[in-house]
C-alpha cells in the first residue's frame, strides 16, 4: 500500500483513471442459488472481481474438538483460484487466505443466530474466480447472500465494502491500480439495516477526518449493494406470491 509516490491515479478533471467519481462504486451484480448441490449459494461480480460462495449445513461439527455445546461454529474457507489473476497463484491455503477466512468467519458469526444450532457447523466456501482488488469484500457479500439462500437465520446481512486514499484524496471502492499504488485501504463489513460494523480493517494511514469520510462512503455503498442483494434473493424466487 502506497509508497510509489508519483503514479498518477486521479485525472486532471478530478475523476479517477477509469472515469469514476470519487464516491462511485464499480458495477455490482449478484445472483443467488447458482449451485444446485449446495444448500445455498451466490455469485457476486464487483467490477472485475468474481466471487462464488456455497453454504452447506448446519451439519454435525467434525472433528468433535471444534464443537461448541451452546452454538454452531462457522467454518469459512476463502480461496483464490490459480487463474484468478494474471500471475498464476499457487493453489492451496496461504497466510492471506487463512487471515481472510478467519475475519470472514468472525464477521459472519456476529450476524448468524449460531445459538440456534448447538454442536453444529455451517460450512461456507468462498472461491474467487477473478480478482481485481476487493476480493474479501466481494467474498463476504457472496457468503451473506448464500447464507440467506440456505435459510440460515441471521440478524442482518453483511455487505462488504471498501474505501481508501489515493493522492491524498479519499475514494470509494479501490480498483487494482488504486489498491497497489494508493495510500490507504479501509475494507468494512456493514450491517445495512442496523448500521453496525461486523468487521473493519485498515491498511495504510488515514487522518480522523479522512477515516470519517471513508466510512461515510462505505455506508453509502453498503446501502446500494444491499438493495442489489435483496433484489437477487427476490429474483431467485421470481413468480412467487408477492
Amino acid at each position: 500500500m502506497g509508497g510509489y509516490g508519483d503514479v498518477q491515479l486521479l485525472r486532471d478533471d478530478g475523476l479517477r483513471l477509469d472515469g469514476r467519481k470519487l464516491d462511485e462504486s464499480r458495477p455490482v451484480t449478484i445472483e443467488a442459488g447458482i449451485l444446485p448441490a449446495a444448500d445455498g449459494s451466490a455469485m457476486v461480480t464487483h467490477g472485475l472481481n468474481v466471487a462464488v460462495a456455497a453454504v452447506y449445513g448446519p451439519m454435525e461439527a467434525h472433528p468433535r474438538k471444534i464443537q461448541r455445546q451452546d452454538r454452531a461454529v462457522i467454518d469459512v474457507r476463502y480461496n483464490m483460484a490459480p487463474f484468478s489473476t494474471s500471475d498464476r497463484i499457487r493453489p492451496g491455503f496461504n497466510r492471506r487466505s487463512r487471515e481472510i477466512s478467519k475475519v470472514t468467519a468472525e464477521a459472519l458469526e456476529s450476524v448468524v443466530l449460531v445459538e440456534r444450532f448447538p454442536r453444529s457447523k455451517i460450512r461456507v466456501e468462498i472461491e474467487i474466480l477473478a480478482a481485481e482488488a476487493g476480493t474479501r469484500c466481494a467474498g463476504i457479500t457472496a457468503a451473506s447472500v448464500a447464507l440467506a439462500d440456505a435459510g440460515i437465520p441471521m440478524r442482518d446481512m453483511i455487505v462488504g465494502v471498501a474505501s481508501g486514499k489515493i493522492e491524498d484524496t479519499v475514494v470509494l471502492d479501490l480498483d487494482k491500480a488504486e489498491d497497489n499504488y494508493g495510500q490507504a485501504d479501509l475494507p468494512a463489513g456493514i450491517l445495512p439495516n442496523t448500521g453496525e460494523i461486523a468487521f473493519l480493517q485498515m491498511d495504510g494511514d488515514l487522518s480522523p477526518e479522512e477515516f470519517d469520510l471513508a466510512m461515510e462512503y462505505n455506508f453509502k455503498a453498503a446501502k446500494e449493494i444491499h438493495e442489489i442483494m435483496v433484489d437477487a434473493l427476490k429474483a431467485r424466487y421470481d413468480g412467487g406470491d408477492n
Partner: protein
C-alpha cells in the same frame, strides 16, 4: 406452511429487514425483536396469524422434533444400534431396544445394513440436538422396495395440500403408495410409470412449490398420465 397465509401482508423479506413495529403482536418463527421492531431472520414470506407475526422460510434445514415421522437411511451400524441419516444436522440413533425385531447383540447388521432405508419416528430430541429414533409403532418398518425422493422441507405442506388433498390426488393418479416424511423425504412405491410420474410431480413441487400457479402446473402434469393411460 404456505397455506394459512390468508389475510396476511404478503411480502417477501430478507434477513435483517424490518417487518413492522411490535405494538402488541407476538413474534413467531423466523423473526426476532430489536428496539421495539420485528426483524426478519430468514428469507421468506411474512405471515400474520392470530396476532403472531412469523416468516415462512423459502428454504429451511430440517430440525427434528419429537414425534416426527421420518425416512432415514442407515449410515453406520454398531453391535447394538444403528445411526441413521435423517436429512438433519445430526444423525439419528436407533437403539436395538427400539427396533421392531428381536435383535441379538452383534446381530444388528443382519436386520438392517448401511444404505438401507427405514420408516421411523423421532422418539426424543434433547437440548444438544441428539436424536433418538424408534421403529416400534404401527407402519414403522424397513423400506425394502420403492423409491425415496428428496424434497425441500418447507414445501411439504404444499405437497400435502389442505387436508392432504394434493397428496391423496397424487396417490390416486399415480396409483402408488406414497409416504411423506417430515424430514423432506418421500417414499413412493408402485408401478414404474407411477413412480416416474410421482417423481416428476415432486420435482415440480420442488421447483414451483412456492409459486401462485403451482396448482395449475400440477393439474397439467396430471393430464399427462391420464392421457397416457387412455392411449
Amino acid at each position: 406452511m404456505s397455506q394459512g397465509r390468508s389475510g396476511a401482508e404478503q411480502r417477501l423479506v430478507t434477513p435483517g429487514m424490518a417487518i413492522g413495529p411490535l405494538s402488541g403482536m407476538r413474534v413467531g418463527s423466523g423473526a426476532v425483536t430489536h428496539n421495539g421492531e420485528i426483524i426478519a431472520t430468514k428469507l421468506g414470506w411474512v405471515r400474520e396469524f392470530n396476532g403472531t407475526i412469523s416468516v415462512d422460510p423459502i428454504s429451511s434445514p430440517y430440525l427434528p422434533r419429537s414425534g416426527d415421522l421420518v425416512i432415514g437411511t442407515v449410515a453406520e451400524v454398531r453391535n447394538n444400534l444403528w445411526f441413521m441419516d435423517i436429512n438433519g444436522s445430526f444423525q439419528g440413533l436407533l437403539p436395538m431396544s427400539l427396533a421392531p425385531w428381536k435383535v441379538e447383540f452383534g446381530q444388528a447388521r443382519q436386520h438392517m445394513n448401511v444404505g438401507d432405508s427405514a420408516l421411523a419416528r423421532v422418539q426424543e430430541v434433547d437440548e444438544c440436538h441428539n436424536v433418538v429414533l424408534t421403529m416400534k409403532g404401527i407402519g414403522l418398518r424397513r423400506l425394502s422396495q420403492g423409491a425415496v425422493i428428496e424434497v425441500p422441507v418447507n414445501h411439504l405442506d404444499r405437497i400435502r395440500g389442505d387436508n392432504n388433498n394434493n397428496l391423496d390426488r397424487m396417490k390416486d393418479v399415480s396409483d402408488c403408495r406414497i409416504i411423506v416424511g417430515e424430514n423432506g423425504r418421500v417414499w413412493v412405491d408402485g408401478s414404474d410409470d407411477g413412480i416416474a410420474w410421482a417423481r416428476e410431480a415432486l420435482r415440480i413441487a420442488k421447483e414451483h412449490g412456492h409459486k401462485d400457479n403451482f396448482k395449475s402446473i400440477m393439474e397439467q402434469h396430471e393430464k399427462k398420465l391420464t392421457k397416457k393411460g387412455d392411449a
